[in-house]
């Protein structure tokens, strides 16, 4: 049993035309036993920036608190919100600080920068980042998610199109994974705001 697979998770983020989407399942399990179907894994950092945390549930929640703490302090001191690139770098540093006793999370950062350009990044549990311009995935069924994204993704999708693609990619990936699924959420971030929807999928 790998500690990163103890609770189960599936997170995908994708870019569209001047928008980004981030989707996650909502299962919380203790190994095989499902314990909750409304567990939050995607968190809002600011109006233009979301972070998805896949991994050990306690670390998911603690890191959410730590990240909110850091971002609040930054906003108070600098009188401006954190840009996605800055946040991603900060998160990478926070993870690396625990290099020899890491946080068991593999996060995904999705946001829109000040110029309106979409931003994605994903990192491993010790903060090694990857920046892409199409999609990033993290979780217990990452192989499935890579396959689905690679097949379904097209560049410059409009927000509604992006929502459809993200939802289908997530739902099909988690159906073949015992540890993820049991409901899903999708957030689409545009310059005008965020639209969040709950997905209706197989509850098994």
């Amino acid at each position: 049993m790998s500690i990163l697979e103890y609770n189960g998770a599936a997170i995908i983020a994708m870019t569209g035309k001047n928008c980004v989407g981030i989707a996650a399942d909502t299962r919380l399990g203790i190994q095989a036993q499902t314990v909750a179907t409304d567990f939050k894994k995607v968190f809002k950092v600011n109006d233009k920036l979301f972070v998805g945390l896949a991994g050990l549930a306690t670390d998911v929640q603690t890191l959410d608190q730590i990240l909110r703490f850091r971002q609040n302090l930054y906003e108070l001191r600098e009188e401006r919100p954190m840009t996605p690139k800055v946040f991603s770098n900060l998160l990478s540093n926070i993870l690396y600080e625990k290099r020899f006793g890491p946080w068991f999370v593999e996060p995904v950062v999705a946001g829109i920068d000040e110029a309106g350009k979409p931003f994605l990044s994903e990192m491993d549990l010790i903060g090694a980042p990857v920046y892409t311009d199409d999609f990033v995935v993290s979780g217990t069924c990452s192989g499935n998610m890579y396959g689905m994204c690679e097949t379904l993704y097209k560049p410059d999708m409009e927000p509604d199109d992006l929502f459809e693609t993200l939802s289908q990619a997530l739902l099909s990936s988690v159906d073949r994974d015992a540890l993820s699924g049991w409901g899903g959420v999708v957030h689409i971030i545009t310059a005008d705001g965020v639209k969040s929807r709950v997905l209706k999928g197989r509850m098994d």
Partner: protein, 237 residues
């Protein structure tokens, strides 16, 4: 800093509510060589009098205007060695900022950080306040040019134009008369040199002053070379 043997602060309140050590530190600043700065609409200029005690001193080795980040720099009036400590700390902290956020530290953050350090030394065990006031020039995160003064107490002020050190009263009066709201950087540099010359003992030339400039267009803080300074001085004549 601050020996464990001295767990009490050396800067303590007088009956009248003053922190005399800070007042005395400000005296040290007022005895220092004049420095001034002007914030133009498209950049900032800072300058100082580099006059040295003897003609035998290798003047090119002395550095009073120092870059801290790519887009900000310091100049001081007061005790040189104290200044060097602050420059080192500021450079280190701005690099730490870059490591954390992958972004250059905005000038306003740099100023707050430095001011915090100076305040610490008025409340920590076994140390004395820094005997310098700093003038900080830089282009902030939003692209706007900024000039700040930081005092030994840790107070900081944003200025449109100011002077510190010997003769600062006359220099500030001169600046008040000459300063215009929408001043351009070139005019600001000229005005800075004229102001410096006003209170200069002896002849001012390109080797006994230092000038630092940050232009809004490229956001890079640079020292003017003696040749460049000479050009400005020639224009002024």
């Amino acid at each position: 800093m601050g020996d464990s043997a001295y767990s009490f602060s050396l800067t303590t309140f007088s009956r009248t509510g003053k922190l005399l050590q800070i007042e005395y530190a400000l005296n040290a600043v007022a005895n220092g060589r004049t420095s001034l700065g002007i914030c133009a609409k498209d950049g900032v200029v800072i300058a100082t009098d580099k006059k040295l005690t003897s003609s035998l001193v290798d003047v090119s080795d002395v550095s009073k205007v120092e870059a801290i980040t790519k887009s900000s720099g310091f100049v001081y009036s007061g005790i040189g060695p104290d200044y060097r400590v602050l420059v080192r700390k500021a450079r280190k902290s701005s690099q730490q900022y870059y490591r954390m956020y992958a972004e250059n530290q905005p000038v306003s953050q740099l100023v707050k950080q430095t001011a915090d350090v100076m305040q610490e030394y008025t409340q920590s065990g076994g140390v004395r306040p820094f005997g310098v006031s700093l003038l900080v020039a830089g282009v902030d995160g939003d692209g706007s040019p900024r000039l700040y003064q930081v005092d030994p107490s840790g107070s900081y002020f944003g200025w449109k134009a100011t002077a510190i050190g010997k003769n600062y009263v006359n220099a500030k009066n001169f600046l008040e008369k000459r300063f215009q709201e929408e001043m351009e950087l070139e005019d600001a540099i000229h005005t800075a040199l004229l102001t410096l010359r006003e209170g200069f003992e002896g002849e001012m030339n390109s080797h006994n002053i230092e000038v630092g400039v940050v232009n809004k267009s490229d956001g890079v803080f640079r020292l003017l070379t003696p040749e460049q300074i000479q050009d400005y001085l020639d224009e002024a004549n």
